[in-house]
């Protein structure tokens, strides 16, 4: 029994991916690539994505499946970020916000958007049970594309985010001007030789994970898990399944909003327009690589998946380039193949209707 469940947990697809990662790492060592640089960028990339991958967890646990529409949360986060920047600009004469306060303000402003959107989105997903993944994907695509119009028309006046000529917000809004870029990355950063550990970034990811972990153990968290894993039984036990699914969706959306702000401060820019379009697929693939399925997930899957998938993305490019300069696109190609291959594999494992 024990070996059987072990085999089931670590199935072939994950084994191949884990081996691929080990192979890449060994090759990187053998090729004498700059390991310090690889580790540094791996760590920051893993930290950047951690909360976005974490956002998949409540969605899967509550039964709506991997949140292909986490771009909704991402957009709420971006709105929060822009609002904070706008407010800081308007109040420039009166008060100067420190970067830390500004970052907290961005999170705070994104929360009402995320709560509202999450409830509406959860309501919709309750009406389309059985097709959540496809609907979520297209709701995400639709909202991202209508937001392209919104970015043009929203009345932001801060010159740091507007185009110098023409109308609308820039494609990328720089965060460096107000000291937001790498704010968390540099917080308590530890330097060991040439390796830089972005302590603040990793800590904030860990803090979010811890909060979610505590939530899962609370009464609501337990009810949510019950609603997700066996809706009929949960309903019979007096749990409102639809309500729990909405809670899961809201939590996922909020984590998406916080996640994109953590991502953006590390990246140094808020990416608008096309930016959020395909981000959900990366997060979905990461948690699936970590061992989750479309209906089961836990924190370990988030951690393992983020490290494996984002690690591969960082290491693959220099390794491929070391072989031949003509293989410069290999990093991006391997990401596409692994990311979508894993999602497809998980869909076949779900077994359909």
């Amino acid at each position: 029994m024990a070996s059987n469940s072990f085999l089931k947990r670590i199935d072939l697809a994950r084994l191949i991916i884990a081996e691929f990662f080990v192979f890449l790492c060994i090759t990187a060592v053998a090729l004498r690539l700059n390991l310090a640089e690889l580790i540094t960028s791996s760590l920051s990339r893993i930290g950047m994505w951690s909360v976005l991958v974490l956002a998949m967890l409540p969605a899967i646990v509550s039964g709506i499946g991997p949140n292909f529409g986490v771009s909704l949360g991402i957009i709420c986060g971006l709105l929060g970020g822009l609002t904070a920047l706008e407010l800081a600009y308007r109040l420039d004469e009166i008060v100067q916000f420190s970067p830390g306060i500004l970052f907290l303000m961005a999170i705070l402003f994104s929360l009402p958007f995320a709560l509202l959107v999450g409830v509406g989105y959860g309501w919709l997903l309750n009406r389309v049970k059985g097709s959540e993944m496809m609907i979520a994907t297209y709701v995400g695509f639709s909202i991202v594309s209508i937001m392209k119009l919104a970015w043009v028309f929203l009345p932001f006046t801060n010159p740091e985010m507007a185009w110098p000529i023409g109308r609308g917000v820039r494609v990328q809004v720089a965060l460096g001007n107000r000291g937001l870029a790498q704010l968390l990355n540099n917080f308590l950063a530890i330097r060991i030789g040439e390796v830089v550990i972005p302590t603040g970034l990793l800590l904030s990811g860990a803090l979010c994970a811890l909060l979610v972990w505590f939530f899962m153990r609370s009464q609501t968290g337990m009810a949510m898990a019950a609603a997700g894993s066996n809706p009929r039984f949960a309903q019979a036990a007096g749990i409102s399944v639809d309500r729990q699914r909405i809670i899961g969706t809201v939590l996922s959306t909020v984590l998406g909003a916080v996640g994109i702000l953590i991502y953006s401060q590390s990246y140094g820019f808020l990416q608008l327009y096309e930016g959020p379009m395909f981000m959900p697929f990366v997060a979905v693939a990461a948690i699936l690589i970590g061992g989750a399925s479309v209906s089961k997930a836990n924190i370990t899957h988030v951690v393992v998946g983020t490290i494996l998938f984002l690690g591969i993305q960082v290491v693959a490019v220099p390794v491929a380039n070391a072989f031949t300069a003509d293989w410069s696109s290999m990093g991006e190609i391997s990401r596409k193949i692994i990311q979508n291959g894993v999602i497809l594999y998980a869909l076949t494992q779900a077994g359909g209707e």
Binding site: R127, G130, W327, S329, I333, I343, L344
Partner: protein, 443 residues
């Protein structure tokens, strides 16, 4: 007497209002887009010449691809987003045919001959995958498209020139590895089907002007309608109002054509790629008769209810795979038509939006995830591409920025798919709930 008229009025008036209401509700999406297209055209300030030239080209380019989506809908597999794979197969074959330097109509024939087995194989594999993801075919097809994009890039960006020997300065990048990002088909497959005569030095062969084509089409349509009305069983015949409305529409088009022909307007400069239109027409007729064959009927039964079909002795999985193979092959042919009309294409991008735009067009024509016909495909292609043409110009007129119109049309494509999918899923949930209620058990 008086009582009779009141009875008549009572039975007649509410029913007609009811039926109009029903017509409006069930065709809401299409009607909305007709209004949107007309408004967009008015606002855009485009000349009729530019508009008709563009729409003629876009119909020839895209209609076949939209038709490729019909069969999987029949088989209950929803919108087949995996037609992107068929498009990739078409591009692969077009690259090789261009490499061999075969152009014109012979090049098209060769490309079609080569792409058919390749697309059939891809269709078989995709169908097998869909049989393992029943109920989630659409998301699986979408993700499969992204996956295949990675494999396609691996082959054409990295392996061609390094592992697969190929040297052709027109096609291969300067470094010797990878196919160029844009491929020019001029002097090759460009207009191979649209201008079949160019190969033999007769540019105008099979390229009548738009008014003459419209006139011919309306006469043909009128004859077909009349023949149908005379020969069909009584209960299948069209009702008088429907018939009259259609005939009025046909006469209006014919009259417009005659006015254009007699004037010296620029519209007479627009030429229709007749061979391409004939191919599209043949596909429509073929699909119509296919749905009446044994396989077509089997697909319908599978689409209505897999379990009932299985009990009736239909090999459900086999039928589903056949549906995807047919769709994939049609998509590959359709994309060859698309590429030869475009004349130059982006090696790593031209296939990306094929699924999105074709699905959006089909839905705008009034199809749903569970019901799609040739009528939906043709009407949808015209409406969607009208919007596509006028949106940037309308954006420039209204907001001084064509980009806004472009954002809008992309939103429309995604939005219409999202809304239709959600409505369908909602209806499905309600239906299964009401099915479950009378028996008192949930299944």
């Amino acid at each position: 007497m008086q009582s009779k008229t009141t009875v008549l009025r009572e039975s007649f008036v509410p029913r007609s209002i009811e039926s109009i209401k029903q017509f409006l509700v069930s065709n809401m999406v299409t009607i909305m887009f007709v209004i949107l297209s007309v408004l967009g055209y008015k606002v855009s300030g485009m000349t009729p010449f530019l508009f008709f030239m563009d729409i003629t080209a876009r119909i020839s380019r895209n209609a076949f691809l939209v038709l490729a989506l019909i069969i999987p809908v029949m088989a209950g597999m929803g919108l087949n987003f995996s037609i992107v794979l068929g498009a990739m197969a078409a591009q692969a074959v077009v690259i090789f045919v261009t490499h061999w330097g075969i152009g014109g109509l012979p090049g098209i024939v060769l490309a079609v001959a080569l792409v058919t087995p390749l697309a059939a194989l891809l269709g078989f594999l995709t169908g097998t995958l869909f049989n393992r993801t029943k109920g989630q075919e659409m998301i699986a097809g979408l993700i499969l498209g992204y996956f295949a994009q990675g494999v396609y890039e691996l082959i054409f960006l990295q392996l061609v020139g390094s592992l697969i020997p190929m040297s052709n300065p027109r096609l291969i990048m300067g470094s010797g590895v990878g196919v160029r990002t844009t491929i020019d088909l001029t002097g090759g497959l460009k207009y191979g089907l649209d201008w079949p005569g160019q190969y033999w030095g007769n540019d105008l062969l099979l390229r009548p002007t738009l008014p003459w084509t419209a006139l011919g089409l309306s006469v043909l349509l009128a004859l077909v309608l009349l023949a149908y009305q005379l020969r069909a069983e009584k209960r299948k015949r069209w009702s008088i109002p429907r018939m009259v409305a259609s005939m009025v529409g046909i006469v209006v088009i014919a009259a417009w054509s005659i006015v254009q022909i007699r004037s010296n307007s620029q519209i007479n400069w627009i030429r229709v790629p007749l061979l391409t239109w004939l191919v599209i027409g043949a596909a429509c007729v073929g699909l119509h008769f296919f749905s009446k064959t044994k396989l077509g009927q089997d697909m319908r039964s599978v689409g209505q209810n897999r379990h009932v079909a299985a009990v009736a002795g239909i090999d459900v999985n086999r039928v589903r795979i056949k549906a995807i193979i047919l769709s994939m092959v049609m998509a590959a042919w359709g994309h060859i038509i698309f590429l030869q009309n475009l004349g130059t294409f982006s090696t790593y991008g031209s296939h990306e939006q094929v699924g999105l735009y074709s699905a959006a067009a089909l839905l705008i024509g009034g199809a749903t995830v569970a019901k799609a016909s040739i009528k939906h495909a043709v009407l949808g292609t015209i409406l969607f591409h009208t919007l596509f043409i006028v949106a940037p110009a309308a954006g420039r007129q209204l907001f001084g920025d064509a980009q806004i119109g472009e954002y809008f049309r992309v939103f429309v494509a995604y939005g219409v798919i999202g809304i239709t999918l959600a409505m369908h899923a909602w209806k499905h949930v309600l239906q299964s709930r009401s099915d479950a209620k009378p028996s008192g058990t949930e299944h």
